[in-house]
Amino acid sequence: MKAFNFYTPKTLTEALDLLNQYKGRATVIAGGTDVVIELTERQRDTDCVININKLNELRYCKVEDGKVKIGALTTFTELENDPYIRENVKGLHSCAVHVGSPQIRNLGTIGGNVVNCSVAGDSPTTFMALDATVVLQSKAGKREMKLTDFYANCKKTQIADDELMTEIYFDAPAKGIATATMKLGKRKALVIVVVGLAVLVEKDDAGNISRAQVVIGGVSPKPARLPKVEEYLVGKPVSKATFAPCADMLSDAVREMIPTRASMPYKKEGVKGVSDKTFGRILADFGLQEGGR
């Protein structure tokens, strides 16, 4: 590992001052599960490392003004154990449960996952289906941006050198909303996603779908919403029959997204099972049918 100076700011203000002072020459470390490997393997050169892991003010999960607000330093374990998320945002709960191993879930933070957003990142897919907004803060002030815009450029995110991500939030799911996620990977612990799917479905009083947000991950560099599938779903009744054709639609989408990639044939088949399972969980979340884990 190359040499660097190390700072552990005690407050957010102190952290933002440091980032401002070192603009572009600093590396932020939260849980460290992505960044320490980059530093040891010398993929990353830096003048200083700013350890934000002691900023407990960024460690929370709460419902406020109709929004679910999650502090950037919240770990996957904390998210998994949050009773509100477990009951009301099943898709996000299941996403947290299936990240890495216990050790990785204990260290890895939501902020690190969202900012790093590797192809294999799980929570960005789920947060995009929840139409989440990220809060970015610098010495100059705060700005907010929808996750879809944050990831608009497929190479990097919109975060500036002197900014920290402080929070991600989304509308608290009202009655009539179900969420589900699922990833296909190679092994139960530490699975790196082959293809991931996250879905939010809202139904009206008549039992018809009034809104659908469908996001695929692990295929393109950043998770992608699938408007075709979403448009197909809106207006149809919430039922197994409605969801069944999604498997083929998703398979076609994978083929269109990565026509020449060697993994395409595997992913396009795999996504069908993922689709059936995920929509099965949506039905279960609506209390309509057993969905399994």
Partner: protein
Amino acid sequence: MDKIKISFILNDKPVTVETNPNKRVVDLLREDCECTSVKEGCSEGECGACTVLVNGTPVTSCLMLAGQIEGDSILTLEGLMKDGELDKLQTSFVEAGAVQCGYCTPGMVLSAKALLMKNPHPTHEEIRRALSGNLCRCTGYTKIFKAVDMAAGN
């Protein structure tokens, strides 16, 4: 590079270490604190051999920088023995035959310890899940799960 001073609790004793900040926790514990039970396997968070407990929570010490444990309480296998007596988990690992080459054992025992501290009578599934971040190339896991069952009095 400026050295940093890190103060933390190691196996119930307060310690202060001055070190280079580009050290990982696994190196700090092995090189500066004589805790050689902490093993380095894969160096990338996959195998769990380097597992230690930070404030009672298992983490992979190969993915942490030394400075991150400032003020924390660290438990390694060296700290499990109390008043000259082995921890229940240590004796059950021996009795169940859960140790072969032993490389995974410190991490395994600590992951199991963290589980039993939170949940003294875990189910089989809970044990499997708690140990899912610790790989063993020798035992086939069955005896390891049995050892944890024994320690839990199941």
